[in-house]
């Protein structure tokens, strides 16, 4: 019998501990690529699976929590309302690492209010939008993120302007806003690993082609189109807190290091122009310019680590509320007697 070498992560778990059930999505769907990246990123970051909570709404994208992190609890909620369920869970257990996946229909239409307010509160979660420009699950209607001029497989060219979820998040003061492409495995993995190391709302809007309803060349979210029209802001590299940064090879060109909440680093290597992710106006301009030219700009658009998260702002006690003993949850008999007495006088 030969001992096969199984690769383990920093907490000695094999990657198999991060996988989920078999996918039932259409073969080639971008969402499956994102699931693989989630598995890879969580494993590489060495996050204990039981500390993660997988959250989603409704849609093909929102089904994917069944296909990754099988050792984590999850909640496939109702259409567009994942943020509120996550908020409630976060309030009573702030130690959970919330990883939400949603679709462009789920987030930009029915759920746009909850998306906006979760950002406004700086809910401590990673929020991935698997953005294909259509409602996959209900058979390919346009969603509100589809670009003007784009055309899905069947039907007319879309003439309505898109709702750009990154622009929206930046305008709302979200502290971590990135755009990526399901086909850019390296970039997406680095960005997701960084998002998992961030404290506060991290929005990653991932272009994720729907092979069944919008993978034709006239669709701005088809594989072909994105591959030829993606503009990367920078090359991204993630250096985990458990790897001494001195041991990492220093890039030849210019680069910027962003230190993340857990001590890890996101290294941004300048490619052409230089983008300063602390500059919200520059981030908005980058998205705007790309949109004007029918391009997709990807990378870390905006970063700001200074804001208080929703649970911090409420001044909750140190222990997660779900772990409080009865004595902390129910005031004493004496307290009630005093209360009654105070009403009498």
């Amino acid at each position: 019998m030969s001992m096969r070498q199984i690769q383990l992560n920093v907490i000695d778990l094999p990657k198999a501990d991060y996988t989920g059930g078999p996918s039932s999505l259409c073969p080639g769907c971008g969402h499956d690529q994102i699931s693989n990246v989630i598995i890879q990123a969580a494993w590489e970051n060495g996050i204990a699976p039981e500390t993660i909570a997988k959250m989603s709404g409704i849609g093909c994208s929102s089904k994917t929590p069944a296909y990754f992190l099988g050792k984590s609890h999850g909640f496939n909620t109702v259409h567009g309302r994942m943020p509120s369920v996550t908020t409630g869970a976060n309030m009573v257990n702030k130690d959970l690492a919330f990883l939400g996946v949603s679709g462009d229909g789920d987030t930009a239409s029915i759920g746009i209010g909850q998306f906006v307010h979760a950002i406004r509160r700086n809910l401590n979660m990673v929020y991935i939008i698997e953005n294909n420009g259509v409602y996959g699950l209900t058979k390919g209607q346009y969603s509100a993120t589809v670009e003007r001029g784009s055309k899905k497989k069947k039907g007319e060219v879309n003439e309505n302007p898109p709702i750009d979820l990154c622009k929206m998040a930046i305008n709302l003061g979200c502290g971590f806003v990135a755009r990526s492409f399901s086909g850019s495995k390296k970039q997406l993995t680095a960005l997701l690993r960084a998002a998992l190391s961030h404290r506060g709302m991290a929005v990653i809007d991932v272009i994720s082609p729907c092979v069944t309803f919008a993978n034709n060349d006239e669709s701005y979210r088809s594989y072909n189109y994105v591959k030829t029209n993606e503009e990367e802001l920078h090359a991204v590299d993630y250096i985990p807190h458990f790897t001494p940064i001195e041991e990492v090879e220093i890039p030849e060109g210019e680069f910027d290091d962003i230190e993340l909440f857990d001590g890890s680093t996101l290294r941004l290597e300048t490619l052409g122009g230089d983008h300063d992710p602390s500059d919200a106006v520059a981030a908005l301009a980058a998205v705007h310019d790309a949109e004007q030219n029918d391009k997709h700009v990807t990378g870390l658009l905006y970063y700001d680590s200074k804001m208080k998260t929703a649970d911090e702002a409420l001044g909750l006690t140190e222990t997660p509320l779900v772990d409080l003993p009865e004595e902390q949850l129910r005031p004493s008999k004496v307290a009630l007697d005093e209360l009654n007495q105070s009403f009498r006088t």
Partner: protein, 602 residues
């Protein structure tokens, strides 16, 4: 000049404009009578805006303990020029009309006792800036003098109203004593009605149902309150916000309950579901329009079996309806909220003591049955002040339900599955996120006993059958009805919620006018207790009395009771937004009983 005085048995109606500070004056009157040991109730009929619309405050003093507004107004105070003529006109002959002469509108009622006082002018002379508000204290003084309200009681009520604000206390007391003086010197002070002190139980105090429910939630270990403002539920959330820091701070000074003002009721409900899913005690409070919005989440909680609590403080529907008036129009909505076959547990307090009790108990019931539980109150109970002798400490520890917290507990269960009915009571076991024990992906889609997605017909049918069994099993574990039974088993009345405040008077009217002795059964929870069925079985005729148009509990009983009882059931349902008046309902009951062919009343 009247011969005999009517003591502690009359109704005062005070007509003012909203936002003029009359609420303080009215509460001082109410509390001073209460302070003297007189059974008294106060109802605020207020408009749905902040300032300027007419408001009536109705105070009923009743040695019998009647708490309904009363059918006749004996003393009418008129302060509001907008409703002046109508207020004056609708007074019955013989009414005492006290009015503010400075409004300069006529009170042409030769058949009434008309007493005027230049309230605004007098108020202006002691404080020009606050004259509009202080003018109200003059009718307090006038009523105190004419009815014989003890000055000590007034002093303590004023002190309570303006807690710690010495300036305000002084100013208002001055106005009250000037009002007294004016009445003494200018009016014939024997108006025929009087307040006489009674032995007051020193333990009693007045409190709003919403505040009582909020305190109950605090003693029930609430971990998260999410809310979106709506009358008449906002004061429940606001009471929680006010009391939580005082009663529920952790040793490190941190909060043990998160409070979130949600972006809408959908989000508020979602947060409750999220909190329950993660193992916490989440609650939101709202009124009918909010429940309508929450419906999708209510179904999710039911089907995915997530505990949570929602308080509905009923106002008049449909739609925006009469936002500041009372009704029992949401019962059906709550019991079967959301699409598909659903059934929810509803706890229905009828007193402030029960608002407190169900406040904490609702969390236990929700976790015990892993489902959404409603607290069902209304504007009358929630926003008016009612007497209590003090709240009782919970008689049981927190019931956290079937939660598996350790590997040993998990190992002790053979063939664990999130939705497997291991104990035969329809209630499965659950593990919590973060525990690492048997993680599953919760979902609102069809699922098998292990929580795995399934569209299998047999599995679906078995799942919903188990859910039915689970909620059925709650019947006799929920608060039992309160029964008041006569030996003569002719007529029984089934009622619920705030009708409690009117039932004794209805009962007395029935007995005094027809000699009929009725038994009563106050339902305190849905699904209803088996005692309710027993009650129906034993009586010849059963009236189901409620404050709505369609007879909603009547409908539920018709659906669920054995068919042989149905011919006994009669609905008496009426709602016009005003808290129930005993005579209106008594007459409807009599009509219902006599219109039937079988002779009931001898």
């Amino acid at each position: 000049m009247r011969m005999a005085k009517t003591v502690n048995d009359f109704t005062i109606n005070i007509a003012t404009a909203n936002g003029t500070g009359s609420q303080s004056a009215n509460l001082i009157l109410l509390h001073s009578m209460f302070e003297m040991g007189v059974p008294v109730s106060g109802k605020n009929l207020f408009p749905s805006n902040i300032s300027g619309l007419p408001t009536w405050f109705i105070i009923r003093a009743s040695d019998e303990g009647y708490q309904a507004p009363g059918d006749t107004t004996h003393v009418q105070v008129v302060m509001n020029k907008d409703t002046w003529l109508a207020d004056v006109e609708k007074a019955e002959a013989g009414t005492i009309i006290i009015h503010n002469m400075d409004v300069k509108l006529p009170v042409e009622r030769d058949d009434c006792v008309v007493l005027g006082m230049p309230m605004t002018k007098m108020a202006r002379s002691i404080n020009p800036r606050l004259a509009r508000m202080i003018a109200n204290m003059y009718y307090v003084g006038a009523l105190a003098e004419t009815l014989g309200i003890d000055q000590n009681a007034i002093n303590s009520a004023v002190a309570q109203q303006f807690k710690g604000k010495d300036k305000a206390i002084e100013l208002n007391l001055q106005a009250i004593s000037e009002g007294r003086e004016y009445a003494r010197e200018n009016w014939d002070c024997d108006i025929g009605y009087a307040i006489e002190a009674r032995d007051k139980d020193p333990n009693t105090f007045l409190i709003e149902g919403n505040e009582a429910a909020a305190l109950g939630c605090i003693f029930g270990g609430i971990n998260m309150l999410s809310w979106y403002p709506i009358t008449p539920s906002s004061s429940l959330a606001e009471a929680l916000i006010a009391w939580l820091p005082k009663l529920r701070q952790a040793d490190d000074g941190g909060a043990t309950c998160a409070v979130i003002q949600a972006e809408d009721e959908l989000a508020a409900a979602g947060m409750v579901v999220g909190a329950g899913w993660a193992g916490g005690r989440g609650m939101t409070c709202t009124s009918g329009p909010g429940i309508s919005l929450m419906s999708e989440f209510i179904g999710l909680a039911y089907f995915a079996e997530v505990p949570g609590v929602i308080w509905d403080i009923n106002r008049v529907g449909p739609s925006t309806g009469l936002p500041t008036r009372t009704q029992q129009g949401d019962l059906n909505l709550l019991y079967e909220a959301s699409h598909g076959d659903t059934q929810h547990i509803v706890l229905i307090p009828g007193t402030v003591d029960e608002c407190f009790e169900f406040g904490w108990r609702a969390f236990d019931v929700a976790e015990q049955f892993q489902t959404l539980v409603f607290g069902f109150s209304d504007l009358d109970l929630g926003m008016n002040r009612w007497a209590t002798a003090g709240f009782e400490y919970p008689d049981q520890k927190l019931d956290r339900g079937k939660v598996i917290r350790t590997q040993e507990q998990l190992d002790a269960i053979e063939n664990f599955g999130r939705y497997r009915d291991v104990d035969g009571d329809g209630i499965p076991y659950r593990t919590l996120p973060g525990s690492g024990l048997e993680p599953i992906l919760y979902r609102g889609t069809g699922h098998d006993e292990d929580g795995i997605y399934s569209e299998d017909p047999g599995i679906y049918a078995a799942t919903v059958a188990r859910l039915k069994r689970k909620i059925e099993g709650a019947r006799d574990l929920l608060p039992a009805p309160i029964l008041r039974e006569e030996n003569d088993k002719q007529v029984g009345i089934i009622y619920y919620g705030s009708v409690e405040n009117t039932i004794t008077e209805i009962d007395d009217i029935l007995e005094s006018t027809t000699g009929l002795k009725v038994s009563t059964c106050r339902v305190r929870a849905l699904p209803y207790h088996s005692e309710v069925e027993r009650f129906v079985a034993e009586y010849d005729k059963v009236i189901v009395l409620e404050i709505n148009r369609d007879g909603q509990l009547y409908g539920i009983l018709r659906k669920e009771l054995p068919v042989e009882h149905l011919s006994k059931l009669h609905s008496v349902a009426f709602s016009d937004g005003i808290p129930p008046r005993a005579r209106v309902y008594a007459e409807m009951i009599l009509k219902t009983l006599t219109s039937d062919t079988t002779e009931v009343i001898a």
